[in-house]
């Protein structure tokens, strides 16, 4: 039903797509996979009318299809959920969901109908507990992602493009999303599904198209390939997805948190991390993992709680991120666009920002040294960019994430907090990051990893703590954890007290 042939697209300095063909059948889920920067989002944007190809033909139901903008694409029945969040923080959830077709008469918004309709759709994607009138700004990033998805589902369509919809979702929401996808399939909607989570793709898709460096590698029926086949096609070499987790010997206590509380998001959280140890944090979306780390890092002022560093007997005074960084802590935030990057500035400046002291003397920056260091990290994490002078804004999502990580590696801290470090990162790079986490731990750093992907946590962590509705409800170590145990812990507080947590606005 949809066909694209010979699509070319270049951005200044890169060829994002070259001579790409794709076809999509009604009612199928067609997965697009490839490394970061392979061109998946570019293709999605072209289909969705946001970018125009330099050359190439597209046909929709045998008719030429060349949308000039998003509105034209949608009127042809092509809708998409973009990789980066594009919500309007100051508007309500309902208004965001129905943004381009607000129910109205003579231009006056029918608020009641809007909220009713929104509630219905939100129910479908598992946002039923949230008031449709609440501002999107007040939601956590995972919930925002769900709102994006809800907005995508809010209208009938013939083609639905989902660009990494699950990057910051937990299993629970992912399952709900898959239900919706199946429902769309029965309505004969063609679905393009982009993800870096190979298991997901194997579960949901009918066919898989692999891209590498903007070129088509292959299109195969899902049944005919294994996950290692896919990875080989993506990366161009073999990669054992199994982590090489070695037995580590934890050192002294690096960080001890006692009774940390912040508003009603974080309740009396205590834990400790040793040097050379990786502690994972699992939990449902919006459970307060991010809030815990923000309070710990001084990004929000904690109401209560003591933090003891490096085995000290007196609590450290951490009131601002500056205090935290001085005390040797690093925080790789989940929202790289708003909280991690200087989007308009070159990669080089982003990497060195946290530690300009190393490249300057008497307050003067040594430009050559700065470039050298930036290139070093670009190499180390194989960041795909034109040069260290390219604005980060122009990098693909995964590469942006690597830039954020480079910034903190360069800062060289002893305690590193990674909040969803692999969000939007391809398998190859994910593997590199796991390895990196391992190496850092081996070097005696204390590491905290938050992830919505439990398998990922189980692969890299020495211990896993589970947060539920702001409380630390369980801690598992080594061999005692199973996905089921973790999941039931994550739900525990909500079952005990069903009104909590998910409705922050009902005071």
């Amino acid at each position: 039903m949809f066909k694209a042939c010979g699509i070319h697209k270049s951005y200044p300095g890169v060829k994002a797509l070259s001579d790409l063909d794709l076809d999509l059948r009604a009612g199928e889920v067609h997965a697009l996979v490839g490394e970061n920067g392979a061109g998946k989002s570019t293709l999605a944007r072209i289909m969705g009318g946001i970018d125009t190809p330099d050359s190439g033909q597209m046909h929709l139901n045998e008719l030429p299809y060349h949308p000039q903008n998003r509105a034209q694409a949608e009127s042809s029945g092509v809708r998409m959920v973009m990789q980066e969040l594009n919500l309007i923080g100051n508007l309500s959830v309902a208004e965001n969901i129905f943004f381009d077709h607000l129910p109205n008469r003579f231009g006056i918004v029918n608020t009641n109908r809007l909220n009713q309709d929104a509630r219905q759709i939100m129910q479908r994607v598992g946002l039923g507990d949230i008031d449709p009138g609440i501002k999107v700004r007040d939601l956590g990033i995972g919930q925002q992602q769900m709102v994006e998805i809800a907005a995508g589902l809010s209208q009938r369509c013939r083609i639905m493009i989902l660009d990494e919809p699950t990057a910051s979702l937990t299993d629970k929401e992912t399952a709900l999303l898959f239900d919706q996808i199946k429902k769309l399939q029965t309505e004969r909607v063609g679905i393009v599904y982009i993800s870096h989570r190979i298991e997901e793709i194997i579960t949901i898709s009918d066919r898989i198209t692999v891209l590498r460096d903007g070129k088509l590698v292959a299109t195969r029926p899902t049944g005919a390939v294994t996950s290692s086949d896919i990875i080989r096609m993506m990366v161009g070499r073999d990669l054992s997805a199994e982590t090489c987790k070695r037995q580590r010997k934890p050192g002294q206590v690096a960080l001890r948190v006692k009774g940390l509380s912040h508003r009603d998001k974080v309740k009396n959280v205590s834990f400790e991390v040793h040097r050379g140890e990786i502690l994972g944090f699992a939990g449902l979306m919006g459970s307060g993992r991010t809030e815990t780390m923000r309070a710990l890092f001084g990004a929000d002022r904690a109401d209560e709680g003591k933090i003891y560093l490096y085995g000290a007997d007196t609590p450290a005074r951490i009131r601002t991120p500056r205090d935290a960084v001085r005390a040797g802590m690093a925080f790789i935030t989940e929202d790289r666009k708003e909280q991690g990057l200087l989007p308009a500035l070159p990669v080089r400046m982003n990497i060195t920002l946290g530690r300009l002291g190393r490249i300057s003397r008497l307050g003067l920056i040594d430009a050559a040294r700065e470039r050298a260091i930036a290139d070093e990290y670009i190499d180390l994490l194989s960041i795909r960019c034109r040069s260290c002078e390219q604005p980060v804004r122009q990098l693909s999502g995964g590469n942006q994430q690597k830039v954020v990580i480079s910034k903190w590696l360069h800062k060289d801290c002893d305690i590193l907090i990674f909040d969803e470090p692999t969000r939007g990162i391809d398998v190859g790079a994910k593997f590199e990051i796991y390895q990196l986490l391992g190496e850092l731990a081996d070097k005696g750093k204390a590491i905290i990893v938050i992830s919505s992907d439990v398998k990922e946590l189980m692969a890299v962590c020495d211990h896993i703590a589970v947060i539920s509705a702001g409380r630390l409800v369980a801690q598992f170590s080594g061999q005692e954890w199973t996905p089921e145990k973790i999941a039931s812990a994550a739900f525990s507080e909500y079952i005990k007290n069903p009104t909590q947590g998910h409705q922050p606005n009902e005071a």
């Binding site: 998003r70 509105a71 943004f99």
Partner: protein
């Protein structure tokens, strides 16, 4: 029912900072002057606010889309001048003259908006250019002279209903309409969205361009409506009028809690902001304050009102959690 009460509650909370500031001002002036609480004082204030309020409503819209319009003072002068010329030189009847006057505001707003959108320039600099151009045009239209119009426009101020003058009523209607548009219409939603995240709006398939153009046009037209009120009040058109009025209008809007960063604002609050500025002016004049004192107090009150507003926000955001 519960909903209503909650709404009222929210409304009071929204305006509490300004109500406090206003009450404080009134109390201070009431105590320090003899005849502050008289009918005439209030009539004076009611006479003064229409022009600045109407202008500030337009400015609210512009600030909400994260723009700014520095040209409103000059546009007021130019459209007032055109009004004068139409009545005095061309002997047009008042309604036609008013249409011509509003046409001028429309064109100025259109030009501002067009340039801002077409070349993606910051509105600050575009409207700064318009500030100069419109002022120059006002001089050239009037030959740099004040033009006496007289009874032909005075009818506007003299018309009254329920003891309120026509300009005041129009101002209130514009405030209500503005608030309605902002809070209840699709257009209002879109401009708030543009102010919050223009790129996201564009990516949602809605072109921000035409919407922004409309906002600048509204601002220009409202500046010319303000010009009608102002001219009626002065019985004459003076090409120097409205000098620095843009900053006053912005101050009114910002005191009202509208963010200069866009995406947030309320027309009703703007009205309170204008009221605070007018009361301050009237009160200081009644006290017979010296110019330096006036300036210093005005500056401090502007900042204090905004500081007060931040506490209101903290208060209300704490309530929510």
């Amino acid at each position: 029912m519960k909903h209503k009460i909650k709404n009222l509650h929210t409304a009071v909370k929204d305006y509490i900072g300004m109500l406090v500031a206003l009450t404080a001002l009134l109390a201070i002036f009431g105590l320090s002057t003899k005849n502050f609480f008289t009918f005439t004082t209030f009539r004076t204030i009611a006479n003064q606010i229409p022009a600045i309020t109407i202008m500030a409503v337009g400015m609210t819209f512009v600030l909400i889309i994260a723009g700014i319009d520095l040209s409103v003072g000059s546009v007021l002068a130019l459209s007032g001048a055109v009004l004068g010329v139409c009545i005095v030189n061309f002997k047009l009847p008042l309604p036609l003259a008013i249409i011509a006057c509003m046409g001028v505001g429309l064109i100025c707003g259109l030009i501002n908006g067009f340039i801002v959108i077409k070349w993606k320039l910051p509105s600050f600099i575009v409207t700064l250019g318009m500030l100069e151009v419109a002022r120059g045009a006002a001089y050239s239209v009037t030959g740099s002279r004040t033009m006496y119009i007289g009874p032909a426009v005075e009818v506007i101020t003299e018309t009254a209903a329920l003891g309120l003058s026509l300009p005041f009523i129009i101002a209130v209607v514009i405030v209500i309409a503005g608030q309605f548009i902002l809070a209840r219409t699709v257009f209002g939603r879109y401009i708030i969205a543009i102010g919050t995240n223009e790129e996201a709006v564009r990516l949602s398939g809605i072109e921000p361009g035409p919407l922004k153009l409309w906002v600048f046009i509204i601002c220009g037209v409202l500046a010319s409506v303000a010009a009608v009120m102002h001219t009626a009040r002065l019985s004459s058109a003076n090409p120097n009028e409205g000098l620095g009025m843009e900053l006053q209008a912005i101050a009114a809007v910002v005191i009202g809690g509208t963010s200069l960063m866009g995406g947030r604002g309320s027309v009703v609050s703007t009205f309170f902001g204008a009221l605070i500025i007018a009361v301050l002016g009237a009160g200081l004049a009644q006290m017979g304050a010296q110019e330096p004192t006036k300036r210093i107090i005005t500056g401090c009150v502007i900042v204090a009102a905004v500081i007060l507003d931040t506490y209101r926000h903290r208060l209300s955001s704490r309530k929510i959690t």
